[in-house]
Symmetry: C2
Subunit: 222 residues, 2 copies
């Protein structure tokens, strides 16, 4: 396979025989990539928390708004970029989002390899769940009656996506990480939030709706 490399840089990804003609290595260090992401997340969460404090919302609702704002913007900007940039690994300038995906692919080379399953999940996430997450911020802030069921819907989407993500990797031998450190930090560590938090939200809404259904006994036929 190495004979087929077209004089470009050797890539760091696993499996080694993954063909990435035109690959250009990361310009930014891991810290250059991770710190701005964490920094803007902290800033975003602080802003949502601060401004939602001027309302009469409960602390749980304000925390939920922080989550939906964070996950919605991640879906739209970070994952949206991935969906529409098949050639990100050839990027010759230190484009932040290209660098982020070059770096993340060390934990899961299915991204740089543009695996169809991954791309499909990311399309659903960026195009449907991104806008729906931001709608959830608005729905909580304005106490819309559809707020709970919307949060439940997007959370189930997160859970289905993560389930697919981990099962599909397992079926193909779970060998897409450059090293165990990247496996645990990126493949597991960066994704587990989208399992734990949606599970908490879905359970909360399930209980609330079951209680409401019980209270309302027979709901009117719609």
């Amino acid at each position: 396979m190495e004979g087929e490399e077209r004089g470009g840089w050797a890539h760091p990804y696993v499996p080694k025989d993954l063909e990435l003609p035109g690959y250009v290595p990361c310009f930014l260090s891991q810290m250059d990539i991770v710190i701005p992401y964490l920094g803007s997340t902290v800033l975003l969460v602080s802003l949502v928390w601060f401004f939602s404090g001027r309302s009469k919302l409960t602390k749980i609702d304000r925390l939920l708004m922080c989550w939906w704002a964070f996950t919605g913007l991640t879906h739209l900007i970070v994952e949206g970029y991935f969906v529409f940039s098949p050639d990100f690994y050839k990027e010759k300038t230190p484009h932040y989002l290209a660098e982020l995906w070059k770096e993340y692919s060390k934990g899961d080379s299915r991204y740089v390899g543009r695996d169809t399953g991954i791309l499909t999940i990311e399309i659903i996430t960026a195009v449907l769940e991104g806008p729906a997450s931001l709608l959830a911020v608005y729905a909580i802030a304005t106490r819309k009656p559809y707020s709970y069921i919307l949060q439940f819907t997007v959370s189930l989407g997160h859970l289905y996506g993560c389930l697919f993500y981990f099962i599909a990797a397992f079926l193909e031998g779970d060998n897409f990480a450059t090293s165990p450190a990247y496996y645990w930090a990126y493949y597991v560590g960066a994704n587990v939030w989208w399992v734990v938090i949606p599970l908490l939200i879905a359970t909360r809404v399930w209980k609330k709706i079951t209680t409401a259904t019980q209270a309302g006994k027979k709901l009117k036929a719609v």
Copy 2:
């Protein structure tokens, strides 16, 4: 690629270069496969409709029970067989479920080719959505307060699965059917029910829950 065929039968699937060593053609005709499936569906639906008539359930709830019984058993038996039978296309006897998947693969060769994305979706469908669908039959019959949210959950699973199914095929060139007739009858025709019916159910539950949330105004914190 043809040189690599190991003296077995030529398969009818598209793409032609799909390698299926040990492939054994269908023993049963299309009608031999489709009629028993439709027949047992009609029988099942009739039984559920008949026995649910002895209760005070509404006609909509009885119809929903028919749907959940049908889809649940399809997930468990038909799709469950696929999940645990990677070699169904080598089956040398007229095993009904092997025949069914050999036949269905004429509309979508990703099944006989055991595409990872398809297998992942089918695992989620057979293992989680199958039992959950049968639980929905029980929940409707016994008017459990979680009946609506459970139906909503499984319907979203159906919709996510179908969305994945069609998007992933599109991304890979949408060329998995032996002929346009099989494309429309199997790939589209057999799957569209799991788009239309879950969409109707999810919309109905969404409206009911939104109404209940409005009626209950502030639901008690759980």
